[in-house]
C-alpha cells in the first residue's frame, strides 16, 4: 500500500519521517523534547523544517475526521490547534499495516497544564486555567461545537497578560451542530468538571499540586464560570421602553467581558411599553480586534486590554486625548511598545512572547514605582526586568519540561 498524505500545504520533508515504524519507536534524535500529556493514543513531537509538529497515531477514518473538524473550527475562528496533515497507508518493515497519523502544528508559546504545574506557580493558577477553559467552552458551544471530551489535557494554554487563553487540542470526539441542546451543553460541562477534578487529583497524588484547595472544589469553578458567561452572553432581558439606555449598557457589559455583539434581537411588546433584548451573534476578541485595527498588533484578549490601557495612559500623559486615535496609536507603537519589546536581548526571546514581555515590564515598573514611591521610566523598568527577572524564566516558545507518561487504556496487546 502506498503512503498517502493529505495536507493543505504539504511539506515534502514530511515524507522523510520514519512512517514505517510505530510512532512509539521513533528515534529520539528526531523528537522535540516536549512534555507528553495524558493521552488515549501515542503522541510524539517532532522537529521538521524549523517547526515543531505533534503526531498522533490513530485510525485513518478518525484521523481524517479530526483533521476536517480542526479545519472547520479554525474557519469558524475558534482557538484550536492547526491541522497540518494526515498520513495514512502506513505499513511496517514486515508489510503489516500501521495506524494513520494526524499531524498538527505545535502552538508556539503554548503550555500544557502539566508543564505549568512543574514550574513554581503563582497562586491561583488552577483557577486561572479553568477560567480560560470556561471561555473556550462557551465560545465553542456558541459556535455549535459539542466537544465530548473537555479536559485540561485536551487544552493548551497561552499566557495572556497574567491570565491564560485556552486552545482546543483534541477534537476527536467533537461534532459540529447548528445549535446545541441544553442537554448537550450540560453533558460537556459535567465531563469537564469530572475530568478537571481527576486531573487535579492526579497532580495532587503526584505531589505537583502546591495549592491547598480541594480539587473537587476547584473543579466546580468550571461550572460556575461557564454559567455566568453563558448567561451574560445569551440571556434575554426585558425592560421598560423608557430605559433604552439599558440596551447600550448590555452591549458595554459584553464588551467588558471581551465579546462583540454582531447581532442583537430587539423586540417590543404589542403596546410598546417594554423592550426585549437578546444577543444573537456574539464574537470574542473585542479588545484584540480593536488593538489590531489601531496598531496592527495581533495579540490575545487580555494582552490587548493591557496594551490599550497603556495606550490610553500614553495619550493622556502626552495630552493628546482629542487627537485621532490611530495617529496616537502609531506614535505609542513607535515610542513605547516597540522599543520595549525590542529591548529583549536575542538570547532571551524564546522565554516569552513580545506582548507578554510588555505586560510583565509594565507590572515590574509598577512594583518598582511602589517601592521607590515615585514614577519609574519604562526604559529603567525594562533594563531591570531583563537583567534580573527574565533570565530566570523558562523558555516557553517550544516548551521543554517534564515528560509525563501516557496511559492509553485501549491500545495494548496484552488483553487478558
Amino acid at each position: 500500500m502506498a503512503l498517502e498524505l493529505t495536507a493543505a500545504r504539504p511539506d515534502p520533508a514530511l515524507l522523510d519521517l520514519p512512517w514505517r515504524r510505530p510512532l512509539e519507536d521513533w528515534p529520539e534524535e528526531i523528537l522535540a523534547a516536549l512534555p507528553r500529556g495524558i493521552s488515549r493514543h501515542v503522541v510524539r513531537f517532532v522537529r521538521l523544517s524549523g517547526r515543531v509538529l505533534a503526531v498522533k497515531e490513530i485510525k485513518a477514518d478518525i484521523a481524517r475526521r479530526e483533521y476536517e473538524m480542526l479545519r472547520d473550527l479554525r474557519r469558524l475562528g475558534m482557538p484550536a490547534v492547526e491541522p497540518f496533515a494526515v498520513v495514512s497507508g502506513r505499513v511496517d518493515a514486515d508489510g503489516e499495516p500501521l495506524d494513520a497519523c494526524l499531524v498538527t502544528r505545535h502552538l508556539q508559546y503554548s503550555l500544557p497544564y502539566r508543564a505549568l504545574y512543574s514550574q513554581s506557580l503563582r497562586k491561583g493558577t488552577a483557577t486561572r486555567l479553568i477560567d480560560a477553559l470556561a471561555v473556550l467552552l462557551v465560545r465553542l458551544h456558541l459556535a455549535g461545537f459539542w466537544w465530548g471530551d473537555v479536559s485540561l489535557s485536551n487544552t493548551l494554554f497561552r499566557r495572556d497578560a497574567g491570565a491564560f487563553a485556552a486552545y482546543l487540542v483534541d477534537a476527536e470526539t467533537g461534532e459540529l451542530r447548528p445549535r446545541l441542546s441544553n442537554g448537550q451543553r450540560e453533558h460537556d460541562l459535567e465531563i469537564a468538571r469530572v475530568n478537571i477534578a481527576g486531573e487535579l487529583m492526579d497532580l495532587d497524588a503526584g505531589g505537583l499540586l502546591q495549592e491547598e484547595r480541594d480539587p473537587v472544589e476547584v473543579s466546580e469553578r468550571i461550572v460556575t464560570r461557564y454559567r455566568e458567561l453563558w448567561s451574560a452572553l445569551t440571556t434575554e432581558e426585558t425592560f421598560a421602553d423608557t430605559e433604552r439606555w439599558r440596551v447600550d449598557d448590555r452591549i458595554r457589559r459584553l464588551n467588558k467581558l471581551g465579546f462583540d455583539v454582531d447581532e442583537l434581537e430587539l423586540t417590543t411588546d404589542v403596546d410598546g411599553t417594554s423592550i426585549r433584548v437578546q444577543p444573537k451573534v456574539v464574537d470574542s476578541g473585542h479588545h484584540s480586534r480593536r488593538l489590531l485595527r489601531l496598531t496592527g498588533l495581533d495579540v490575545r484578549e487580555n494582552q490587548a486590554r493591557r496594551l490599550l490601557n497603556d495606550l490610553e495612559v500614553f495619550a493622556a500623559s502626552t495630552g493628546r486625548q482629542g487627537e485621532d486615535e490611530e495617529i496616537v496609536a502609531h506614535d505609542w507603537l513607535a515610542r513605547v511598545y516597540e522599543p520595549t519589546t525590542r529591548g529583549v536581548p536575542r538570547e532571551l526571546v524564546a522565554k516569552l512572547e513580545p506582548a507578554e514581555v510588555f505586560h510583565e515590564v509594565l507590572e515590574h515598573r509598577w512594583y518598582m514605582a511602589e517601592k521607590a514611591q515615585h514614577d519609574v521610566p519604562i526604559q529603567l523598568a525594562l533594563d531591570d526586568y531583563v537583567a534580573r527577572i527574565l533570565p530566570g524564566k523558562p523558555d516557553e516558545r517550544a516548551v521543554v519540561g517534564i515528560d509525563t507518561e501516557e496511559l492509553p487504556v485501549l491500545a495494548d496487546d496484552s488483553l487478558r
Partner: protein, 365 residues
Amino acid sequence: MATVKFDEATRIYPGNDTPSVDKLDIDIQDGEFLVLVGPSGCGKSTSLRMLAGLEEVNGGKIWIGDRDVTDLSPKDRDVAMVFQNYALYPHMTVADNMGFALKIAGVDKGEIRKKVEEAAGILDLTQYLDRKPKALSGGQRQRVAMGRAIVRSPKVFLMDEPLSNLDAKLRVQTRTQIASLQRRLGVTTVYVTHDQVEAMTMGDRIALLKDGLLQQCATPREMYDKPANLFVAGFIGSPAMNLVDVPAASDGAKFGNHTVSIPREGGKGGDRVIVGVRPEDVELTTNNDGLELTVDVIEELGADAYVYGTPTDDKIKLHGGDDNLAKPFIARVDGRKVPEKGQTIYVYPKGEHMHVFDPESGARL
C-alpha cells in the same frame, strides 16, 4: 437496575422535514443487553442520545423503570456512558482511578472504598487496587475504565461505538469481555454499533434501524432465521443472504427450472417474489437443476469454500440488500467438492431454508 422504554420516541432536527428517529418503540427488559445497529445515518446514535438526555425528544416518551425521563437533564437520569473517557491518571492508584467520580459526587470515603472493592471483585482487579495503572496490562486498564462506570451503580449503561478506534484483533477480544462483564453485572445496557457481527455476538436482542425507522427488534437467532423484511435479510449475516428476484407461479417460485414451494399468506404476492437463501443453505448441482450460474471466484476456507457466481440469464436480478449494489450469488460448499472457476453450476434453496419477500413492499411473505 431498570427497564427502558422508548414509547413512540421521535427526534426531528431543526430544518429537517423527516424525523431522524421516527416513533421508535422498544421495550428493554431489566438486565438486557440491547444493541442498536444500522448503517450510518440510520438514527441509532441519536436514539441512544435521546435516552441519555443529549438529544431533545420532539415526540413520544422515554421511560427508565417507571420514571418518565423525557425531559430530565442527563445528570438526573441515572445512566452512565461507558468508555466515554479512557484516560487513566498515572499518579493515582487503581482504587482512586475507579472511585474519584464518587468523591466528586460527595460520597463518603468508607462508602467509596466499599463500592470500589465490590467493583474490583467483579472485574478481577482486587489485588491491583493499591497499584498505579502503569503496572496493569491493557485489558486490566480497560476494566478499570469500566469500573469507573460500575461504581456509580447506574440504572443503565450506554455505549456508543466503544470499539470503533480499536484494531480488528482487539475489537474481538474487547467485545467478548464487555459482553461477559455485562452478563455478570446484569445491568441493563444499550449499545450502539454499525457492525452487524458485533451486534450478533453481543446482544441479547438487536434493534435494526434504517432511515430513522425500526426495521426489526429481535434476538440474533430470530433476526437471522426470520428477517422481517428485505433490508434486515440483507444486513444481518456475513456473507450476506442471496436475494434473488424470481418468477412465481401457483405451484411455487421458479429457481431456474427448479420449483420451490413458497408460503402465500392471504394470497399476497404477485407474479414475482424475492427468494432469500443464505450461502450455507444453497444446494449446488452440476446436472441442470436450479438457477444457472457461472463461477467467478472461489474463496477457500479449508473445511469449506465460498463460491461466487453470476446468473447466466442476465434477466435474473440479485438484490444488494442494504446497499442495492450488484452483487454475486454466494454459496458455501464442502471444501472437498469445490467447482472450478468458469464452470457452470446450478443452485436452489436447500430444504425449507429459504425466505420469501414481496418485491414491492420488501415485507416477508
